[in-house]
Amino acid sequence: MDNNSSDIDIVVLTKGVPDFREGKVSFDEHGHLERGKTPTVMNPNDRFAMKAALQTKVRSGGKITVMSMGPPGYKEILQEAMNIYADELYLLSDREMAAADTWATAITICSAVEKLDPTPDIVFAGFKTADGETGHTGPQTSWALEWPIITHVVSLDVDVDERKIRARRLVQGDIKEIETVEVDLPCFVIPDPEFEAEYPRASHRLRLQNLTEETQVRSDAYEETLTMWDHKELNLDPDFIGLDGSPTIVGRVDPIPKAPSDREATIIDLENKSGLEEMLGIMAPFAGGK
C-alpha cells in the first residue's frame, strides 16, 4: 500500500510546548514560567492534526512525515508523535533558526516541506500552540507554500482519484454553523479541536490497529527514522531566519491579571452531613440539566 503511486503524502507540523497541565508546570514566585523545571510536550492541539493525518493514511494510504523545528531536545516530541503514528521524522534544528517568530518559522518550514521528495499533498498543523497562542504559523506557512488552506476542520475525506479533499469546517469557529468545502490537492489543513476521526469500515479499523502496532514498534527506535536539517541543508540565508529574520519585536511581557469574578465559593465539610444536605438542596433544581 505504501508504494502505491496514488497514495497521499502527508506532513504533520508539530511543536514542543511547556506542559501546562496541573502538577507538571512550574512557576516562580513572580508567576513567571520556570522553563527549565517544566517538561516539554507535544502541543496538545497537534494531536488533532495527527489524528486527521492518521485517518487519511488509514483510509487512503500514503506516508506520514512529522516535522518540527526546535532544539535537539525536541526529538522526544517527535517520538511522542510517532506513538500516535509516523513513518518518518524531521527536526529542523540549528542555532541560526533559534528565537524565530511565526514569520521566520513559516519561511523555514516552507523550505523544508518543499525540499521533501516527493512534494507532499497535504500538510496538517494544529490549531494554535499552547504557548504562543498566535495561530499564525500554519496560515503563514500555507501562504509561503502558495497553497490553499482549510481551517477549523471537524471531519474530512480525501478523494485520491480526483485528488480533492472534502472537509466539513466550522464557520467562524462556531460549532453551530458548519460548511462543507472541496479543495484541490495540495492543500494545507488545520483541524479544529472538535475534529473527530471517522473509521466507518471494518477494514479501516483493522488497518488502524495494524498501523498503531507498527508505529509503537518503530517508536522504540525512533532515531533511526529521524532526519535533522540545519539552515545549510535547507539552503537558507541566516539573515532571513531565526531571530534575525523575525520582524516581530516583543516589547514587554505582562502577567495576565486575575480575572475579576463576583462568584463566591463556600467550603463544605464532607464530614458535616447538614452542610452536604444544604448543598444538595441548592443543586437539586439544576439536576437533569435544567
Binding site: P200, A202, R205, L206, N210
Partner: protein, 553 residues
Amino acid sequence: MREYEHYEAIVVGAGPGGAAAAAVLAENDIETIVLERGMEAGSKNVSGGLIYAEESSPYTIDNLFPEFRNEATERPITEYKLHNISGEKVASFDLKGLHEYDTKWCDSVLRRKMDSWLSKEVQSRTQETGGGLINGIHVNGLLRDENGKIKGVTCDEIDPITADVVIAADGVTSELARASGLMDWERPEEWFQGVKVVVDLKEVDNIFDLEPETGIAHLFSGDLFEGVRGGGFLYTNQESLSIGTVFHLDSIMEEEAESHELLNKLLTHPLLGQWLDKDYCELEYSAKLVPDSKKAANPNPHLDRLLLVGDAAGQMQAQGPIIKGMNHAVTAGALAAEAFVEMKERGDSEKAGERYELKLRQTGLMGKLRPPMYSVVKVVAENKVATAIVDGVLTSPVGRAAIRTMGKRIGKLYNVPILSMAIPDTSTPYVTLPTIIGQEVGEIIKSKNLVDPPELADRISKLAYDTDIGKPHIELIDNSYAASGGAVTACPVSAVGFGGGCYRMEEIEVDGKIELRVSLDTQPCIECGTCAVVAKTEWSNPRGNKGVEFKHG
C-alpha cells in the same frame, strides 16, 4: 445500493465460542473478521468459573490454543464437594466421581484474563487470513438481501458487513439469536440466573489446604435459600475465590426472591466461616443469565448463513450439580467453523448450517445438551402431584429412615452421571432432598462466620461503567407493575426499597387512584438480560465500549 465490505466469515463475539470458531476458520485460511463489543474481550463476560475439557469432545480449548492452561486459567480443579445444608447441619459428599466423569481436565477461570488472552491469539491468527479482531464494535442486527435472506450483520459503529457465513457467539444476550427468531426471551423456566462475587484471598493454598497446582470446588444446596430452586458454589482461583449462586429464574420470580440476598445467605452461613473471615473483601459483583440447555438449546441453531454457538444457542448444560457451558461453546464454535469449511470446499457454503446441525448430533453434543432421558423424567417427575408425593415420602418417617440407612452412600448416587443428567426441575432435588439429607445425616457446623457482606449499593459502586449518556440501551415498553414488576426483585442490581438500582417500584396517582408503576434507570445495568425475560422491554446491548466493564468476570 451502497457496496458493503465482504469477508468470508464474520464471528460475532470473542468469548470461548467465538475464539474456537475463529481458530478453526483461520487454520483453514478463511478470511475471518471477529467483532467484539467490549473494549477488550472479557470485559463483558462473566461465568461461574469452571471450564472443562471432555474426553468425549472432538474439540477442547487446549487443542485449539495449546498455551491456554498456562496463560489463561486460574487453577486445576482437582476436588469437588457437595454440601447438603439444613440450618446449621451439613452433610458433605465427595463428587469427584461425577466431576471426573468424561473429564480430561477442569480449571477455574476469570473471564477478563481468559478472554483477553484468547483474543490476542485470535487477533494474530485471523490477521494472517486478511481479517482480524476489532474491539468496541456492537453488532446490533442482521443484514438481509431483497428476499429477506441473511447475508451479513449491521453494527452501531461501522457500516454493515456481508459474509459467506456469520457465526454468532455473542453470548446469552445475543441480539442476532433473537433477530433471527432462533431464540426468544419469553419463558423464565428456560433460564437460570447466576450471581457471583470474586473475593480477594491471597492465602488460598493455606486456607483450603491445597497443594500447588490443585484447586477445589464446593457446591451448596438445601434450605439456606428459602425454598428457591438452585444452589451455590465456591471455586478457588489463584489468589481469589469465585462464590456465587445459580437459581431457576421462574423460582426467583415465584418466591419474589432477591438474588443478592440469597447470595448473602450463602456468604454468611457458618460452613463458609472456615474459609472467610472478617477481612472479607469483594473485588467484583456480577450476574449472568444462564440458559438451561435441556429446554432452551435450539436443536437447529441456524438460519441462512447464520450459525449460533454457545450461550447464544442455549448450549449451557446443567448436569445436576455440574455446570458445563464454556466447553460446549468451544466445541460448537469449532464445529460451526468446520461445517463451513467443509461445505465451502464442496462449493455449497450455503448449507453450512445444516452441516453444523448434523455435527452437533453426530458428535453427541446435542445429546448432552438435551439428554433424551430428561424428556422421560420430565413427564413423570416435573408434575406437581408427583413432586408432592415424592416430597411427602421423603419428609415422612419412612423416607427419613431410608436416608439415614443409606447414610454416606447417598454420595455414590450423586456420582452417577446418567442420573445427574436427568435431575428434574422441581424443588425435590434442589431443596427437599438436600435438606432432609442435611437433617438426617448431617453434622452441626461449629465454625463462626464473621462475614459482613456489602450492601447492594456498595457492590454497584465498585463496578466500572462507561455510560452512554442519553442513550439507554433498554427501553421499558410496559411500565405497569403487572407486566414489569418482576424485574424489581429479579434484576440483580435492583431491590425493593432500593433507589440506586435499575428497576424501581413507584406509586403514582392516576385519576385519583394510586397505581403501582415500574421505572427504569439503565446506568447501573450489568447487562445480564434478566429483565428481558421477566419484564416487557425492548432490550439491546449498549454500543461498543459502553456500559459495564468487568475487570475480573
